[in-house]
């Protein structure tokens, strides 16, 4: 690309603005631009002025809306405009995003069920969410791809979290401890609210309100000196056969964020994020690293339509996502870019 040959410096400034805004300038473009700036001290002012016009023009155009198609006069009528086969622009993609968000909202089933039989099983499909009201008045919010079994007796309330993620709001009943069995640990609450996220290797517990106790499953629920106490605003994780990790402080907003269509992650590997997507959206989600990556991710994102969310994450985290139909392979590359 050569330097503009227009003689009017104001036109030249506009040309540079358009090049910068609409094209990816090359190194030689940049050198030519710097030379143009240095050639006259008024050029910088002209450039800034052209930027202002560009800014206002775009806002003005958007406010007016696109010209109606019927009023468009194609300057070359002998050549038929091609069908729009290019990738959807950001604007178009967001139009169908709204429809997707609506469908997602519709898929959130708020079902109040009162189990009358012991050993009731509740499960959700991928992308589905349910709120279950238990016989004691406690509520369980099930994330997608989650299964629990509920067994109540006169002196115990036992939930087996078999898979997935659930948030529990426990009715106060000191005579009957509320135990959630998650792999080889029991999370016990008396009257509290907490979230348990069961992933492939680890189980994470986060307390939104009150206190929970975490006991080895083999204790059978008998509290002893090995019992861990986890208070409001703290979380910990454990893996099968290993001692739980240290408790860490956690934002209360982060706990159960999935219920608000949010994905909040704090210093986690890519696998954790991908697992959350797999729970939420239909399709197959996998991490396709050639070698283990030590990259850790923190942040938050609004969960929208599946493909839009995948694109958002790819851009935000500078990760590559390859889609083949319903298969999404996430690659934790280290080079940033979109």
């Amino acid at each position: 690309m050569n330097e503009p040959d227009r003689t009017d410096p104001s036109d030249q400034a506009l040309e540079w603005v358009l090049r910068h805004e609409l094209q990816r300038p090359t190194a030689s473009d940049e050198a030519a631009f710097q030379a143009w700036l240095a050639a006259d001290q008024t050029h910088l002012h002209l450039y800034d002025d052209a930027v202002r016009t560009y800014t206002i023009a775009n806002a003005a155009r958007r406010a007016l809306g696109p010209v109606a198609p019927s009023n468009v006069v194609t300057p070359f009528p002998t050549i038929a405009p091609p069908s729009v086969s290019a990738p959807p622009s950001a604007l178009r993609s967001r139009r169908w995003l709204l429809g997707g968000a609506g469908a997602l909202a519709a898929s959130v089933a708020l079902v109040a069920l009162v189990p009358v039989l012991r050993g009731d099983v509740y499960r959700t499909d991928v992308g589905e969410r349910r709120m279950v009201t238990l016989a004691d008045g406690s509520t369980v919010h099930l994330n997608g791809a989650t299964e629990i079994r509920v067994r109540f007796s006169d002196n115990a309330r036992r939930i087996d979290l078999r898979d997935g993620q659930a948030m529990f709001e426990v009715a106060h009943d000191p005579a009957r401890p509320f135990d959630v069995w998650a792999r080889d640990r029991i999370v016990r609450a008396v009257g509290t609210s907490f979230d348990i996220d069961m992933q492939a290797q680890t189980v994470s517990v986060a307390v939104d309100d009150g206190v929970v106790a975490i006991l080895p499953a083999e204790s059978g629920g008998n509290v002893d000196t090995a019992t861990l106490r986890l208070e409001k605003g703290f979380a910990l994780s454990y893996a099968g056969g290993q001692a739980p990790g240290a408790a860490r402080a956690i934002s209360l907003d982060q706990i159960g964020a999935w219920r608000r269509d949010m994905l909040i992650f704090d210093d986690v590997p890519l696998e954790t994020i991908v697992a959350a997507l797999a729970r939420r959206y239909p399709g197959r989600f996998a991490v396709a690293n050639r070698r283990p990556s030590s990259r850790r991710f923190s942040g938050s994102i609004v969960l929208r339509e599946r493909n839009q969310t995948v694109r958002d994450l790819g851009r935000m985290l500078s990760i590559q996502v390859q889609q083949r139909g319903d298969q999404f392979d996430f690659a934790s590359v280290t080079k940033s870019g979109t």
Partner: protein, 213 residues
Amino acid sequence: MARQFLRLAQGLFLRAPSDRDRSGGVGARVQDADQGTGGDDIEARLRRAFTDIESHLRRRLRRVLGNAADVDEVTQDTYLQAWERRHTIRDQDPRGFLLRTGGNLAIDRKRRDTHRPVAIGDELLEMIVPDAITPERLLIARRDLEAVQAAIEKLPAAQRRALDMSDEGKTLAEIAAALGCGSTHAWRQLHAAYAALHAARLAGGAPNKKRKE
């Protein structure tokens, strides 16, 4: 709460989950033990700017859009669009760049909801032209906006269409294909359109016919 989380994030969070996370938010930090945090200077500047400006941006968007769900989506889209176009930031203050991006997206959202032209109030105008913080500057920005809007209405159809497509994110090749011409001609249409608007703005509402094709 946000401070607590910020401490946990050791200042590296693009944004800390805050009370706004109750219904929305966007942002990410990547920490790579092998190769550092990565990214060049402009990326770091953009991340810092978003951290600095997010609550301010949200307040502005809330005034303009009026509902939290739209604010969440537009905030997220602001970051994503700014990230995609970060190469255009150059020496600009990225905070202003983010505000302008958010302002433009807010206009899109309002127009899509109403299916009618959007009246740009002072709050939106201050986002789009973030240096317009004094009454006098706001007045100038208002005059500029009206001059440019009037000039847009008078653009030849091909230039107007090129302008629309450019602002919708179409590439030059896509614009050329849609217009049924080559990229060079499409570029000229775009340049002529912006030149006409530039002249109109500088003239304070009198489009310079000489510059129009």
